[in-house]
């Protein structure tokens, strides 16, 4: 007979195995789904997993998608560690794209070598500002951070749409809701010829390392971990919850803002209404899949980027709606949460006779 038994100690093996198990189950789910709609499951697996990494161009595109996912996920990992339920990476990313683009357009005819740094800084500050508002409302007025950050996502989206229809619209763009193309002076340099891999991806990888360093090697990171694990104990130790909340939120906002401005000054090269295909929301899943660990987030972001690529390819090659990506993301998180049950529990095979 199989019984569920509580473990005396959380299993550290399951903590690592659970994301891998969840990914495997999601792929099995994908095969079943694809066969259900009359597509070959092996072809589906090929398109989702192998084709995105099959040639150097696709690998480059995978990195282009990994950049914003990773930047957002590193910040979110620290937030969730500190029990700050920031769902607002999407809005912070859009705010960064908007603020950065405004500055990039200001420098459109300039040769100044400050143009790119100023543009990136504007993106970072805009993201921080967008994170600061819900943080302030939570700490000062006790409002629910989950809901305010989500509302700020929508507000950022409409603000961006308003801007590309109004003040930031290209006057020579035939009325399309897009900004003018940025000048080369404000574009992130491309690192490898014949790919779109840009400097923003280096920022993302560095952010993962910085996040890891803060969390694992500094007293601040120690405070964040204690705060998340046992809030009363953290307060007893004299750690300031307010200070930590501000720090993790501003850090996350800065990274998400950088992700946004890196998209507009990187692969896109102008401000458009659909800057992000939901990177800020997917980053929540990346953060979880990476076990709220900044280095784990790097691996998880690679997987998520492959999934995004796979979704694009499935649409092109098999005519499957691209929405399948967001469905797989939801399923992945379901499986992850279900597998996490076995961190604290186990199946015990007992002989009925001994009962």
């Amino acid at each position: 007979m199989i019984r569920i038994q509580a473990r005396t100690e959380p299993s550290s093996l399951m903590k690592v195995a659970s994301p891998l198990l969840a990914i495997t189950l999601t792929l099995i789910f994908g095969c079943i789904l694809f066969s259900a709609i009359g597509k070959s499951p092996t072809q589906a697996l090929h398109v989702l997993l192998i084709a995105p990494l099959a040639d150097s161009y696709n690998i480059g595109e995978m990195f282009v998608k990994m950049g914003p996912l990773l930047l957002c996920a590193v910040g979110l990992s620290l937030c969730y560690r500190a029990n700050m339920w920031n769902i607002g990476a999407e809005g912070q990313l859009l705010a960064g794209a908007l603020g950065g683009s405004a500055v990039a357009l200001y420098f459109i005819d300039s040769e100044s070598s400050f143009a790119l740094p100023m543009t990136l800084l504007a993106g970072i500050i805009s993201g921080m500002l967008w994170a600061a508002m819900p943080t302030f409302l939570k700490l000062k007025y006790n409002s629910n951070l989950i809901l305010t950050t989500i509302m700020f996502n929508y507000i950022a989206l409409y603000l961006l749409i308003w801007a590309v229809h109004g003040p930031l619209r290209d006057p020579e763009g035939f009325g399309f809701p897009e900004s003018a193309l940025f000048s080369d002076n404000t574009l992130l340099p491309v690192l490898f010829e014949s790919s779109r891999i840009h400097l923003g991806i280096v920022f993302a990888l560095i952010s993962g390392v910085i996040g890891w360093f803060i969390l694992s090697k500094t007293h601040l990171g120690f405070q964040i971990r204690v705060f998340g694990a046992d809030e009363p104990a953290a307060r007893y130790a004299g750690f300031s919850g307010k200070k930590l909340s501000w720090l993790v939120m501003l850090f996350a906002g800065a990274l998400a803002g950088l992700a946004g401005v890196s998209e507009t000054t990187g692969p896109i090269g102008q401000l458009v209404p659909n800057v992000s295909p939901g990177y800020g929301y997917s980053a929540i899943i990346v953060a979880y899949l990476g076990r709220l660990h900044p280095l784990g987030a790097i691996l998880a972001a690679v997987f998520m980027a492959v999934l995004y690529m796979g979704g694009d390819l499935a649409q092109i090659e098999m005519g499957i709606p691209v929405a399948v990506v967001s469905m797989f993301q939801g399923v992945l998180l379901f499986f992850l949460l279900a597998c996490d049950f076995f961190i604290n529990n186990r199946l015990a095979f007992t002989n009925q006779a001994t009962n």
Binding site: A6, W85, I87, L137, Y141, N142, S143, N144, I146, L147, T148, I150, M151, F152, Y154, I155, Y158, L159, I161, W162, H165, G166, Y281, I284, I285, Y288, P321, A323, V324, V325, S326, M327, F328, Q329, G330, V331, L333, F334, L337, A338, D340, F341, N344
Partner: protein, 310 residues
């Protein structure tokens, strides 16, 4: 502004507030049992697309609503199993449900984008619709709006005056005490979550069968999230949810009001209004920490594991 325009605006506020009312009624029952389901948006989108597909396929809007209810219930059961049985984090599970529902609804609805159907027609209630002013605002709607009226008053009665309401509140306030007197805590929570799913389904069906009536990806535009704020706004009281839903409905159609006043503001800026209003309302309501602690169900968001009962 003439009285005709005021009638039109208030009529539209009720119509716009109705999907919020449905979904928030479901969520308040769910939260009263101590379970916070952030998957509202995903369940609502699934209700919208399945309701539309069923109505499109069968030609019957009524069957569409039934299918949407069933879908909402199914979606909520994914959440219930993970959260109630496997003790998964409620916030993460709810988010997963929303992400999943957003994707799945776009996936299965991709074939019918832009198609139109014959939705519900307005039914003027005899006598009541003849009441000057109010009759035209309240009693000239489609059948789902009347259903939302009935549901609101039924729930006010059930929550406040019946044994079922008492059990629900006991489970949400103190599950251990409820368990001790023999109430099956998890069963009550399962049912409450399922009720939330059914109402989210109806709410979605209202969007795709009455309000637009068609299916567009992401057509709920954050209403599932606004409904969560609405529950806080209503201080977890059923009656106030109705008031809140119509106020939010009014905020969503402010462009009509401003046009009536002859102002011209960019529609994209006005589109922010419901979300800005939600933030402002939450700040005002939650600022009094003591009051919120007093009003929110005490075990909200906390897992209950019957195995831990000694």
């Amino acid at each position: 502004m003439d009285s005709d325009l005021i009638v039109q605006i208030l009529f539209a506020a009720i119509k716009t507030g109705t999907p919020l009312l449905f979904i928030a009624l479901g969520e308040v029952i769910c939260e009263k049992s101590g379970t916070l389901n952030l998957g509202q948006e995903g369940m609502m989108l699934m209700g919208a697309v399945v309701g539309f597909l069923a109505a499109y396929g069968t030609g019957s809007a009524g069957l569409g609503v039934l299918a949407a209810m069933l879908m909402g219930a199914l979606m909520s059961m994914i959440f219930a199993v993970l959260v109630l049985h496997l003790g998964a984090n409620q916030v993460a599970t709810g988010l997963a449900l929303t992400i999943f529902g957003t994707g799945l609804s776009a996936f299965i609805g991709s074939g019918v984008v832009g198609q139109t159907i014959q939705g519900f027609q307005p039914i003027a209630i005899p006598f009541l619709s003849d009441i000057p002013f109010l009759g035209r605002i309240l009693f000239n709607h489609d059948i789902l709006v009347y259903f939302s009226f009935v549901m609101t008053f039924a729930l006010i009665y059930i929550v406040n005056k019946t044994r079922i309401g008492l059990i629900l509140k006991a489970v949400g306030e103190n599950p251990h005490a409820a368990n001790a007197i023999g109430i099956k805590v998890l069963r009550v929570r399962y049912l409450a979550v399922m009720f939330g799913g059914i109402m989210a389904g109806v709410s979605g069906a209202y969007m795709s069968l009455v309000y637009t009536p068609m299916w567009v990806e992401n057509m709920t535009a954050g209403r599932g999230w606004i409904a969560l704020a609405l529950v806080v706004f209503a201080s977890w009281r059923v009656g106030r949810i109705m008031l809140g839903a119509y106020l939010f409905g009014l905020a969503s159609i402010m462009h009509l009001v401003l046009q009536g006043l002859g102002w011209s503001i960019s529609p994209n800026l006005l589109a922010m209004l419901p979300y800005v209003a939600t933030v402002i309302v939450m700040v005002i309501i939650s600022a009094d920490r003591f009051k919120e602690k007093l009003l929110a169900p005490r075990s909200l968001g906390k897992p209950f594991d019957p195995r831990n009962m000694a």
